[in-house]
């Protein structure tokens, strides 16, 4: 979700046009059990090249949500990665997290039907703050709030991991039947097989990950993209965990490894926990809530997994330009990034092998 402070007017060619307000309002009323939902104003928010984010000012008459509200409508991405969930499935994951007590933008309603506004979409409550990673790690007050924010994020992650694949819970997500880390490796190899560029270093890292995969203590809900840049902060406090499209069942340590991966520290390399704090703060918050405690020493493997995953995704993002014809400078530059993550992954493997901790 983009920073909500940058609203602009409605442009031609965007998904939501004034003539779709009435249909959208009627659909929302029926979903929410209200007499009427009037869309008073809609503004396209900045920062949505792939998907659109709209601020909706609404007035609800009747039902449990009667009153004035500000919501955000997100459309489905026109083009996304194979492993990402559609907007409706993502919404179901957000609902499950919300029930588990995770701080998310309150889920209001979602539609997998493209008929209403031309694309599937989800509506959530508006949340204050910024999600911009660079802005958060460069905040002059980071030294005051960084450690407490990391503890807060650790607690939220533990709440996400409290969701387990029991009967009826997010049953559309496949439960891994093999080691979940090896499953990740298999998925990445499959992606690389269709990529435009062969990457020997990444192949080496994937072989190492395959040979050294630890067994998980439990299979839990994994956010899949839990990192700085994907949560909202307002006044140094967490307001919402965002971007649930990579949610899956897996090893909970995968999320911790992703959060601390060097590529997501936005240059604040000494602050291992997402560029905002020391690792101990994140784990302190996590272990306060989690029923399965995690030690820092368990995370090196998952940092390597994270680096390789971002390398593989970057390569495929570049292919959206090279092979898919999407003329985007951002995608092209992202496609040049794999050597950075491959270097970091090999560095960690060097360190672990020097200590004799792995094969």
């Amino acid at each position: 979700m983009a920073d909500v402070k940058d609203g602009t007017g409605i442009k031609a060619g965007t998904a939501l046009q004034p003539d779709s307000f009435a249909a959208l309002g009627a659909w929302l009323a029926s979903e929410l059990g209200a007499e009427r939902v009037a869309i008073v104003e809609a503004a396209l928010l900045a920062g949505g090249a792939v998907q659109q984010n709209w601020r909706l000012d609404v007035e609800v008459t009747g039902g449990a949500r009667a009153g004035k509200h500000v919501w955000v409508l997100r459309t489905d991405a026109a083009a996304s990665l194979d492993v990402s969930l559609d907007r409706l499935s993502e919404f179901r994951c957000i609902e499950a997290a919300h029930r588990a007590g995770v701080k998310v933008a309150e889920p209001i309603a979602a539609s997998g039907d493209g008929g209403l506004i031309g694309r599937p979409f989800a509506v959530q409550a508006l949340v204050a703050g910024t999600a911009q990673g660079r802005r958060i790690v460069r905040d002059p007050k980071l030294s005051e709030f960084g450690d407490s924010l990391a503890r807060e994020l650790g607690r939220e992650l533990a709440r996400i991991h409290s969701v387990r694949p029991t009967a009826g819970v997010l049953s559309f997500l496949p439960v891994p039947v093999t080691n979940p880390s090896r499953r990740e490796v298999a998925q990445m190899r499959k992606g690389l097989d269709g990529a435009s560029e062969a990457r020997p270093a990444l192949e080496y890292v994937l072989s190492w990950l395959d040979q050294n995969a630890p067994e998980p203590a439990a299979i839990t809900l994994v956010h899949g993209d839990f990192r700085t840049g994907n949560y909202m902060v307002d006044g140094g406090r967490l307001t919402a965990v965002l971007d649930w499209e990579f949610c899956h069942w897996g090893d909970p340590r995968e999320d911790l490894g992703w959060f601390i991966a060097r590529c997501w520290r936005f240059g604040n390399d000494d602050k291992v926990a997402g560029g905002i704090a020391k690792l101990a703060s994140l784990l302190e918050g996590y272990n306060e809530i989690a029923d399965i405690k995690v030690a820092a020493s368990e995370l090196a493997y998952f940092e390597v997994l994270a680096a390789s995953r971002w390398a593989a995704i970057s390569l495929l993002q570049g292919d959206r330009f090279i092979k898919g014809g999407e003329r985007s400078l951002e995608l092209a530059l992202t496609g040049l990034m794999p050597p950075e993550m491959e270097w970091d992954a090999l560095d960690i493997i060097d360190r672990l092998m020097a200590k004799g901790r792995v094969t």
């Binding site: 690389l192 062969a198 192949e203 080496y204 092209a332 530059l333 050597p339 560095d347």
Partner: protein, 120 residues
Amino acid sequence: MSEHRRLGAEALLDLVAEAFKAEIAPALPADKRYLAAMIGNALDIARREMAVEEEALGFQLLDHFFDDGDGTMQELSRAIRSGEVNDKTNPDLRARLKAHLANELKVRNPRFLGGRGVKG
């Protein structure tokens, strides 16, 4: 800024990047700053790539695993995945791979290497 001996593509790209960063980018509105930074970055990468022969850098790696002039990145990748090439058959495998990455990064992002204490 680099010195050039001939007025060719490399020199022109160098000048374009310099003029863009010094005079155009600062005059752009705030919502175009990210795009301007990406353009500046892309021009720098293109300029550095023209100064090296990327294919030759690939052969520096491949020549350790295949007969001179033979072998491709695809073949090396397959050999690593199948286990035919590994740490035991090639004890310096990781070092070779890192040397290749360093060559790529000198073109794509030399600051990355600087941040990891490697001379760019």
